[in-house]
């Protein structure tokens, strides 16, 4: 088990932190501690996780120091086993240059064919670390080093929802249309964030995996129509 540090972060929040590393192992451990913290659900209003930290935002009337003491006691009495990914989503992405504004240029920059670029991007199981930055934006780990590329020098004022992009060592999906400087290499026809869905505005949870499945323009539009009718279901695979 890695060393973790527990301390207050303002008068209403407790912060549990691991070393500042992006690692599936640390994250699996973190998820186990998040599960453990549910023992204290009566004190916790909201939980936010990142690569290496859990923030427990407390309900009014509860103190981070009191929870820290209780949590430390529980940790000392329990064996906490890491929670590795249990399922994978297959997310359709259309890499057609009609939707992928920067694909051609990125392929040139990397001196590879568009097909090679698409293969490198879609052959990996990406690890879902957490949601942040924008509502519904998921931080994914696992982008092939050969595809790392800086942000656009001049950000776009409008990037359509569903756009799949690359920025530095990260790849991600725009949950809603917004300004942005990521290099856009595809678009996903399935909404990744739906604020109309009170129960679950995003299908994705931290600790799951995502694989991008290339589809052509025709399939992209067919899926779009199915989504509009409400009959589209994302493919998911349980991992053993």
């Amino acid at each position: 088990m890695n060393s973790l540090k527990i301390r207050s972060f303002g008068p209403q929040t407790l912060l549990i932190e691991w070393p500042q590393l992006i690692s599936p192992e640390i994250h699996a451990e973190l998820l186990a501690y998040r599960k453990l913290s549910k023992l204290f659900a009566d004190q916790i209003a909201e939980t936010v996780i990142t690569y290496n930290a859990i923030a427990l935002h407390l309900k009014p009337g509860h103190s981070p120091n009191a929870l820290k003491a209780e949590l430390e006691e529980t940790i000392s009495l329990n064996e906490v086993s890491p929670l590795p990914p249990s399922m994978r989503w297959d997310l359709p992405v259309c890499y057609d240059t009609q939707l992928a504004m920067d694909l051609e240029e990125l392929a040139q920059e990397k001196q590879m064919s568009k097909q090679e670029l698409i293969k490198l991007h879609s052959e990996v199981d990406y690890h879902i670390y957490f949601c942040g930055f924008l509502p519904g934006f998921i931080y994914l780990g696992g982008l092939n080093k050969a595809l790392h590329s800086p942000r656009l020098a001049v950000p776009r004022t409008h990037v359509p929802a569903g756009s799949v992009g690359i920025a530095g060592s990260q790849t991600g999906i725009y949950p809603s249309h917004s300004p942005g400087g990521w290099k856009i290499i595809g678009r996903c026809p399935v909404p990744v964030f739906d604020p109309r869905n009170d129960d679950r505005p995003s299908p994705f949870f931290a600790g799951q995996l995502i694989r991008f499945v290339p589809v052509d323009l025709k399939e992209y539009h067919a899926i779009e129509q199915e989504v509009a009718k409400g009959s589209y279901e994302l493919l998911k695979t349980e991992l053993t």
């Binding site: 207050s8 929040t13 930290a53």
Partner: protein, 284 residues
């Protein structure tokens, strides 16, 4: 119903906040200054869940097509109903057909209008608060119609006058506790942080308030970690950014301080150019 004749600046409906969706990257939102918003609600006997209309620097002009009871709070605003000036921090009747305007008299930040019965607007993820990326509407626009609940006594509540709260905002100090990366600062940097007066820049909005860079203060970034309203971030370029109500849930700058909850509302009402010092909250 209320018709928006002029929307004012950055006007938005804000209820107590959007809770339970933070793990999806959804901010809490809510009024920038919870003192003034709360006082407006109290004056018209709103419940804690009701929304207020928040505006920035310039208030809206609103045409009423039903009788209502309203109250306006804030600093340096002027309330006018059908040409007649009315007091802030007091409940007033507005008759059907009347025009209500809120103008600013001097430099100011956020003001609030509450209405008896509460605004009857759409809830998204459990909240009426406008928020970019969540609600279609992110600010009030000309021609918008605002519904409110009419099944409420339109009598002006007695004892509707309250003391001014202006003194809360007249301070040079912002109360804080150390943030997760406070100990990354050197002794010299800590001295600069506590002893300097920091000047609020013009770059302030519902997501964050930026201060002009303070010479000698700067910090490397961190691996993206949790942040919240009131988190004071220090950038590599030396800017202090205090995150406000619509801030992202995670961020990559060093979190050197954390504002006390009340201090967030106090800071919200400070205008660009104000100089402020951070003061460590002493535990009692």
């Amino acid at each position: 119903m209320i018709t928006v004749i002029h929307p004012g600046l950055l006007s938005s409906l804000q209820d107590a906040g959007r809770f339970g969706y933070r793990s999806f990257g959804v901010p809490w939102s809510g009024p920038m200054d919870s003192f003034s918003a709360g006082m407006a609600k109290e004056l018209v006997q709103n419940t804690p869940e009701d929304a207020v209309l928040e505006f920035y620097q310039r208030g809206p002009s609103l045409q009423f097509d039903a009788d209502a009871v309203i109250a306006v709070t804030g600093q340096n605003f002027e309330l006018v109903i059908d040409g007649e000036p009315k007091s802030l921090f007091r409940a007033h009747k507005v008759k059907s057909g009347q025009l209500l305007s809120i103008n600013s008299l001097a430099a100011t930040n956020f003001g609030y209008l509450a209405i008896a019965g509460g605004f009857d607007s759409e809830r998204v993820l459990g909240s009426r608060s406008y928020c970019p990326g969540i609600t279609n509407h992110i600010r009030l626009e000309r021609g918008d119609k605002l519904k409110f609940n009419k099944n409420h006594s339109i009598e002006v509540p007695s004892l509707s006058r309250v003391k001014s709260i202006a003194h809360i905002f007249q301070t040079e100090h912002i109360e804080v506790t150390p943030g997760p990366e406070y100990d990354r600062l050197s002794l010299e940097q800590k001295e600069i942080l506590w002893n300097s007066s920091h000047t609020l820049s013009r770059n302030i909005n519902r997501m964050g308030y930026r201060f002009n860079p303070t010479p000698g203060l700067h910090s490397d970034g961190i691996l993206t970690g949790p942040v919240q309203a009131g988190t004071v971030q220090l950038t590599p370029g030396g800017e202090l950014i205090v995150l406000m109500r619509d801030a992202q849930t995670t961020g990559g700058y060093a979190r050197i301080l954390q504002l006390m909850p009340d201090a967030i509302s106090v800071l919200a009402q400070q205008i660009p150019g104000t100089t402020l010092q951070f003061r460590l909250k002493t535990t009692t």
